[in-house]
């Protein structure tokens, strides 16, 4: 039963990611709602479900790209591990902890994805950090905090 709840959650997040989120773009930078879904899974159920969810969601997200199929799944699986590492079984909830978990997960995802994606390009490391890694990270953290405020039970749910 729980698995259907999470399939529904990722369905809704995919829908929002592809319809509403493009309208919120700033200089081609978009927050990653599916990553927020992975964070919710990690915090509430630990690393294993979050890694599996991240890997699957990454494969779905990568389906429409022209290159590096599997990169999002790699980044999101690692992000799921980080989110699950700070699950509610191990860490007590407060706002700063939530902020820290979202930040660590978003940074892991962004660093792995952008580093591999731009590895062989003519873009310098500093430029990739300033132009892509940091903006993606900041925007996803901001949206994560907003979701924490409006999502039923917040990112942590009822323990």
């Amino acid at each position: 039963m729980r698995i259907f709840k999470y399939i529904l959650m990722f369905g809704i997040l995919t829908l929002l990611q592809t319809t509403l989120i493009p309208l919120l773009s700033v200089q081609d930078i978009y927050p990653d709602l599916l990553l927020i879904g992975v964070i919710i899974t990690g915090i509430r159920h630990g690393s294993t479900p979050a890694i599996l969810a991240g890997c699957l969601v990454g494969f779905v997200q990568d389906a429409a790209v022209t290159q590096l199929y599997g990169l999002s799944s790699l980044a999101k699986a690692a992000a799921g591990f980080v989110a699950g590492y700070f699950s509610r079984e191990k860490v007590k909830y407060n706002f700063l902890v939530t902020l820290g978990v979202v930040a660590a997960t978003a940074l892991t995802n962004s660093i792995i994805y952008q580093t591999i994606y731009y590895f062989n390009s003519n873009a310098g490391a500093g430029w990739v950090i300033v132009r892509y890694i940091l903006p993606h990270f900041v925007y996803t953290v901001v949206v994560g905090i907003i979701v924490n405020a409006i999502w039923p039970g917040g990112l942590w749910g009822k323990s």
Partner: protein
């Protein structure tokens, strides 16, 4: 004591460390997909996920279209006015062209066959370099077919599935096209650079290039027909140690508003 217990009971060891094993398995699966992008098995997985992803986005594409409606309306009115003015100029040119053709006894010209398609998904999550369209192998689409809009070249077909295809846009850094300046026939290679945008490379320093010069596809490309508009020269600079100019282009196509596209399915010359 605990470690000894874990070693004696492998199942317990596996269960207690299951997140690490899951992570390793997920990394291995992702790396396998990453290093085998062109394998049929990976294509099958991609096709399965793309079908559900694109189906969902297609059903709810009205949300995005509704939000873009007012902006599109204003832009289209502006475009209609421009087209009207251009049309009157072209009529003059057509008449002149007709007279000259008759003088030269011109018999054949190249015509292309098109298929019109709609953009289903835009890959905008992290890198906006590709779109999915609702034309596939059932519609006669094959890899590497040029994709255009009324404004000019947009990209080429990258992967084909039965009912949809992935288009590699010019914004992809792996996309290169042989090009020339429309006015003085200076040749170069157009590619995307993350730092500066669309670039016309390999143009010798001695070539005469001016701002607003139009860049089109050249006649030396095996994939793209000649004369497709790519963009206009926006910036020209020269590096001291280089033999070539650095030319930045303004793309003709507005990639953020890509909704309808045309796939050129046949380039073969046809008698008029």
């Amino acid at each position: 004591m605990l470690n000894k217990d874990l070693l004696e009971r492998p199942n317990l060891f596996f269960v207690s460390k299951r997140e690490y094993f899951t992570l390793i398995a997920a990394i291995l699966v992702s790396l396998y997909a990453l290093f085998n992008n062109d394998r049929p098995q990976i294509d099958a997985i991609r096709s399965f996920f793309l079908g559900s992803y694109a189906g969902l986005q297609k059903k709810f594409s009205w949300v995005r279209q509704f939000a873009d409606l007012q902006r599109d309306n204003t832009a289209l009115r502006q475009r209609a006015t421009q087209m009207m003015l251009e049309n009157s100029r072209l009529r003059e040119a057509l008449l002149e062209n007709y007279r000259l053709r008759q003088m030269l006894d011109y018999r054949a010209r190249e015509t292309w066959a098109f298929r019109a398609g709609r953009v289903i998904t835009k890959q905008r999550d992290q890198t906006p370099v590709s779109v999915t369209i609702d034309l596939g192998s059932k519609d006669g689409i094959r890899p590497n077919m040029p994709v255009v809009t009324p404004e000019g070249l947009a990209g080429k077909i990258f992967k084909v599935f039965p009912q949809m295809s992935i288009v590699q846009l010019m914004l992809d850094r792996n996309f290169n096209v042989s090009a020339r300046l429309q006015g003085n026939r200076v040749y170069g290679i157009v590619s995307w650079s993350e730092r500066s945008g669309l670039e016309l490379a390999s143009v010798p320093r001695t070539s005469k290039v001016e701002l607003s010069d139009v860049v089109v596809t050249s006649d030396s490309s095996a994939l793209f027909p000649p004369g497709l508009r790519i963009g206009q020269v926006k910036e020209i600079s020269e590096e001291k140690a280089s033999l070539f100019k650095v030319i930045i282009l303004e793309p003709s196509v507005d990639f953020s508003r890509l909704e309808e596209i045309f796939v050129i399915t046949s380039l073969s010359p046809r008698p008029q």
